[in-house]
Symmetry: C2
């Protein structure tokens, strides 16, 4: 078993520590942060999931309106066409909505543990595109040649896809559009070119045929992607039998590209594992965790908006030490220390 040392301060960010973006909203969850170093501080780019204050007998939820305003939709809970069995989804007849709308929120820290609203940078990245009318989620942040690339989940009635932005100063952002069409999420860029090409991992979903697998793709410019190949599938009767997806940017090691990924089984219990990819040809898998390297063992990982979840899409590296940030139970943000050597050893 890999040694994971959870921060004793966990959870380090909770809904209570986050100001809602509007007075009529409450923060339902703060989760799944991207993580990066900027000007010697550690930053988290959190996903903040909000919903309106709920009234008795009514489910209400936000969507972005046509003028980038927020519209609140409401359904009576006794509507026989309504299905609220998944706390994340409002299903009415054949139409799906999300119970919450997520945006991205920046927090900074001098010690990597205590995070506060940035003093000099804008802290809220709000949906502005048609593809984001139901929200922005689970942003990876990858530094390539001193530019920060944000790859995040865009949600709208059109589907779930991967959007990209870039910034150098965290004040000015360039929108680079939707880089992967539906149904896709969990896009992690490699931090450098390999063999003259950019690479990314992502998680398209099949309909009938296919599943929730990790794919790998190539690009010349990070904006246009091709040469898509299925890299890793779910494994029957394993902890990752139902869905898998890459975490943050793959980590260069002399043994190969180390990928931390999440896997869920058919009860939607989310654990973390590792995959090692060939340094020269990252389409080749060298090793994969037989058992999880991290499971939802703590109370804050087992109980919450959507329990039994550890999910990471952000880490910062200091030599062999990985400071991994993760969402627990789709409710709070936590941190843990991992030794890269120890993960590699678990893959031998």
């Amino acid at each position: 078993m890999t040694s994971i040392i959870r921060f004793k301060e966990n959870p380090i960010v909770t809904p209570q520590s986050i100001q809602p973006s509007r007075e009529d909203m409450i923060v339902e969850g703060v989760l799944n942060p991207g993580a990066f170093i900027f000007q010697d501080k550690t930053y988290l780019l959190l996903r903040v999931a909000e919903r309106p204050k709920q009234e008795d007998g009514i489910v209400s939820f936000p969507v972005m309106g046509d003028e980038n305003t927020i519209d609140i939709l409401k359904f009576n809970k006794d509507d026989p066409q309504l299905d609220l069995s998944d706390p994340r989804i409002v299903k009415k007849a054949n139409t799906f909505y999300l119970t919450t709308m997520s945006h991205l929120r920046l927090m900074e820290s001098a010690d990597g543990i205590h995070f506060t609203t940035p003093s000099t940078l804008p802290s809220i990245i709000y949906p502005t595109k048609a593809a984001e009318k139901y929200g922005m989620e689970d942003c990876r942040v990858t530094v390539i040649d001193d530019v920060y690339y944000l790859t995040y989940t865009q949600v709208s009635a059109g589907g779930v896809c991967v959007g990209m932005m870039s910034t150098s100063d965290w004040i000015h952002f360039e929108h680079l559009g939707t880089i992967l069409p539906p149904h896709n999420k969990d896009c992690a860029l490699f931090p450098q070119k390999v063999g003259g090409k950019y690479f990314c991992l992502h998680r398209p979903s099949g309909v009938d045929l296919g599943g929730n697998y990790v794919w790998i793709s190539e690009s010349n410019d990070l904006v246009h992607w091709g040469k898509h190949n299925c890299l890793a599938m779910t494994r029957k009767d394993h902890w990752d039998s139902n869905r898998i997806g890459a975490g943050a940017s793959p980590i260069w090691t002399k043994d190969g590209w180390l990928v931390i990924y999440h896997g869920a089984n058919h009860t939607n219990r989310y654990c973390l594992g590792a995959i090692l990819l060939d340094l020269q040809d990252p389409k080749q898998i060298l090793a994969r965790s037989e058992d999880p390297i991290m499971e939802p063992d703590e109370l804050y990982e087992q109980n919450g908006f959507f329990g039994e979840v550890v999910f990471t899409n952000g880490h910062v590296q200091f030599g062999d030490q990985l400071w991994m940030y993760y969402g627990a139970s789709d409710s709070v943000v936590c941190g843990a220390h991992l030794s890269i050597k120890s993960i590699l050893k678990s893959l031998e």
Copy 2:
């Protein structure tokens, strides 16, 4: 109503006119051809769906093996885990297979009506890639700068996606990989750059959120794609309420890019309609058919392997005249004459 003149010779290609690729297989359907002109002849690149000769009480179907051989899988029909309710799909527990395996087959004609096996060109394009282990389907052929680009559906256990090949002589082919990841099909390239970019239409599918909609994307090299945007959605209570997808390459007209598309309702009745896109900015829809321009009215369009289907992904143009080729009932190939002006008039 647009005037559609079906070939009086319909159906022009049937399973009986196609030699199976192997002795132990039968041709179940010949359908959904790409169409193009090469050296003054009309060519169809058909989808040929084959399955093994069926034994009593057993369903058997082909998949490509690891050495590019064909493996025949068999299940007892009385297996309680087996679901054969859709004639196109074998579902066992949570695993999906196809009842048939498709490859692409070339046929040539001097008059555009009577098609035979080419005398001097290889006629069979067989799956060779991991992404094609369950088959290749519904190929569009687009000529750009004298190169023929084949965009087709790749089917495997990894999912359903879009593959691309190119050729100049129909003897030598270059494989350009998977250009759009799962779940995606119905990819039609524009025949020329617009504003310095290549464009394509395609049909990703949503899971829960999103649907079966037509998207439009941009590329610099036809191999890597980005700037994905949802172009057209299904329409509630319309003939195209359940799924839509582009047909063959959009047609340049002085009024705009004319797209012929298929739409199916919730009983899976497939009709054809038209969409007009702005010439300079094809992300803008100028008009869309309220009613179908073609419905499955003939007996051969209503009865077959999968009835009530007209589906096109191939046409050749002679001035105002479109010779449109289409699959009927997932069984046979037919043709029809359409006037482009008449379609445009129906969109006014």
